[in-house]
Amino acid sequence: MTLSSSFGNNPDLDSWLQFHRDGRITVSTGKVELGQKLTTALTVIVAEELDVDPGRITVLTADTDNSPNEGYTAGSNSLESSGIALRQASAKARRALMEKASEHLEEPVENLSVTDGEIGGATTNKYVTYWDLIGDKHFKITVTDDVLPKSPDQYHLIGNPVPAVGLEALVTGTMTYVHDMEFTDMAHARVIRPPNYHAQIQDLNDTEVRAMPGVIEVILDGSFLSVVCEREEQAIWAASKLARITVWDESKELNSKDIFVQLKNNPRQSLPVVEGVAKESPVQPFRPPENSSKTLSATYQRPYHMHGSIGPSAAIALYDAQVLKVWTHSQGIFPLRLALADVLGLAEDKIHLVHVPGAGCYGHNGADDVALDAALAARAVPGRPIMLKWERADEHAWEPFGSAMQIELQASLDDTGRVIYWNHETFSDTHMSRPSAHRENSRLLAAWHLQSPRPAPPVKPTPGFHTGIHRNADPIYDFADRRVVKHLVHDLPLRVSALRSLGAYANVFAIESFMDELAHFRDMDPLEFRLAHLSDNRARAVLEAATSKANSGFSSADDGHGRGLAVARYKNSKCYVAVVIDLIVDDYGAIQLLRAVIAADAGQIVDPDGLRNQLEGGLIQSASWTLKEQVKFDDKGIVSRDWESYPILTFAEVPEIETVLIDRPDQPFLGSGEATQGPTAAAIGNAIFYAIGLRLRRIPFTQDRVRDAAAEV
């Protein structure tokens, strides 16, 4: 058995599990709950391994003082890292407890069994419980690789529906998000951002604002401007006034030329990608084989997209006796602590971060930035807890967006119509700008505007396996020869970072659209064409399951109806997903999604409802990006600053969704939270093609785009 890498920093069993005398168990994880139902899945895993009722278990999410450091909650890795770690820790704990029970009951371990934490022997009426043996005490042992967890045939919880942890609190409004925390003497703050990234404060006379009711402090440090008030509405009013009276130097503008021209013309670094890994070596020239009979090309584009959390980013900070405490919904409180230490000039051990849930973030949004904003406000008003919330426009204009991308594909076919050479080139800014220790630089927003600014560090290509730009750039098909290139493009206009699935969304959109184009060129059924190039049986199985489900119980002979198919395996190593979309395009070019089918293989299923929610939620979010969304900006700054200028999918626009889960109890569980993003986009594009014969290659597929494409024909 290989031990989880999460034990590297945290080998002690006691840092993962605590048994209490009253029969409760607390479980620590370095990961955080983002609405992805991680807490439920981890509860099930621990309850299964220990044979206890899940109701006994409380999962504590990350706290820099008390949790194992597991870095970021990102990349669909949490079940594979924290889940495996907790399974192994629980197995170790169970074994240790069985050995203690064996002595206590004078019965060999192999004769003992556990029912809800009660250990009994085969030949005795005596029993002892976990809580008797270890309640409120420590194991004082490390997790080792010699204890095997249960085998799947011994499971009775995993894979069955379980009530999600905390749903009652969510539906009654009693769940405490960071926005809802309340402290004695808490003050409220807002931040006043510049009109755009480059603007600087030229002049500010804050006398009038300081005289407004409830104003405690106006904080001006370089071009960082914030106001702290007794009451929340006072902070909003004061911030609004400050925004009106501040004079900004806006002479430096954004480059608002066509982003796809910038992606091709700006300076860039290019790396070859081999088996999912970018290499620091020269890119080989594009060279289709001589025996190819036809080479086709196509270019696909996605704009900047936004995370668009429904709850604006928020944090509470308290600076007291030289110690900073911050309550934050960051996805990575340990890296954030390093970043805050740099900017504030504080020692790491003087900063204590506690994770408290926020609204869904879907990647790196404003969560970390607002923590620094709150910390700066708290430093100016020591001794009082400061609640700092972003306004909607702050969130829309300042969050790090998902990068715009251009993908250029070529495929060469032989005489029989098989693809014998595939070329994939992705042009994009980075997808990874999460904060960490950057010394004189910082990725935290406010640091850029301070009197002694710490600008963002230079962006470098990330060579790892399926990292940002080249995530899923390498097709899962059996193409004999392939060339995959990532181009990291510099000097692009907008601030960017990780958005759910990173580069995979557009890379899969491109690959799976192009596969359909090739099938059409060959006059082949899109499913048959894919299967003819696909030997991975698990990928074949999801394709077949999705099409078979789509074919049953649904048909439409309406004009403008189309059905599209797409498949991918997230990061070529995680969850397999095939998506089928049925939609209608009306005479005016408006698209209505009718129905979506998802077939997914996420290995062993831990929590089927949680898995379904992640897959279906990803599909709807991706459909929203694909049909409606685009960050708008001009040379003065971001223009899409609310939900009217950045519309997302509404209840009337979502399709009916049916999901087929293929359980593989003998296989490791695979991250699923980002797996439907790419296939959904391609399935929609493919469905539009079969509906009206137009191939859309630039996202979003708005009504205007459909009309423009029709006019071009």
């Binding site: 539906v171 009693t174 809802d180 869904g360 009337a652 979502v654």
Partner: protein, 155 residues
Amino acid sequence: MPKVSLNVNGKVHHLDVDEKTPLIYVLRNDLGLKGTKLGCGLEQCGACKVIVDGKAEFSCNTPVEAFEKSSITTIEGIGTPDKLHVIQQAFVTECAAQCGYCIPGIIVAIKALLDVNPNPDDEMICEALSDNLCRCGTHGQILKAVKRAAKEISL
């Protein structure tokens, strides 16, 4: 001298707050009713909805003084974790929440709908939620929960 009187969840409160304060901040910060969520402050996302005299209304942008003659119900007035309303129970049964931030506003909108029309069709449900946004993509589960609740209320 309290400036504002407010009837919330069947109880009258006399409050010394600026009457121009948008209702949501009074609910959350003065009455401690944190279930009503601040999403946009622009009446665009629905996270802040409360029931005002039987109708679902935004609370994020209208001054508290406009509600003095009204009867307000917040999410806390609909049910509690120990005593879930049938709509809330249906949301739990259908696992109709991911991050959950939009859910109180949605349940409020649905409560106002079902109080008037316990048997709505899909179009009416979507109409009632036309200005409620959900970013996690929980729409399918939410619609199923609404239909389940409607069915149980009509029984």
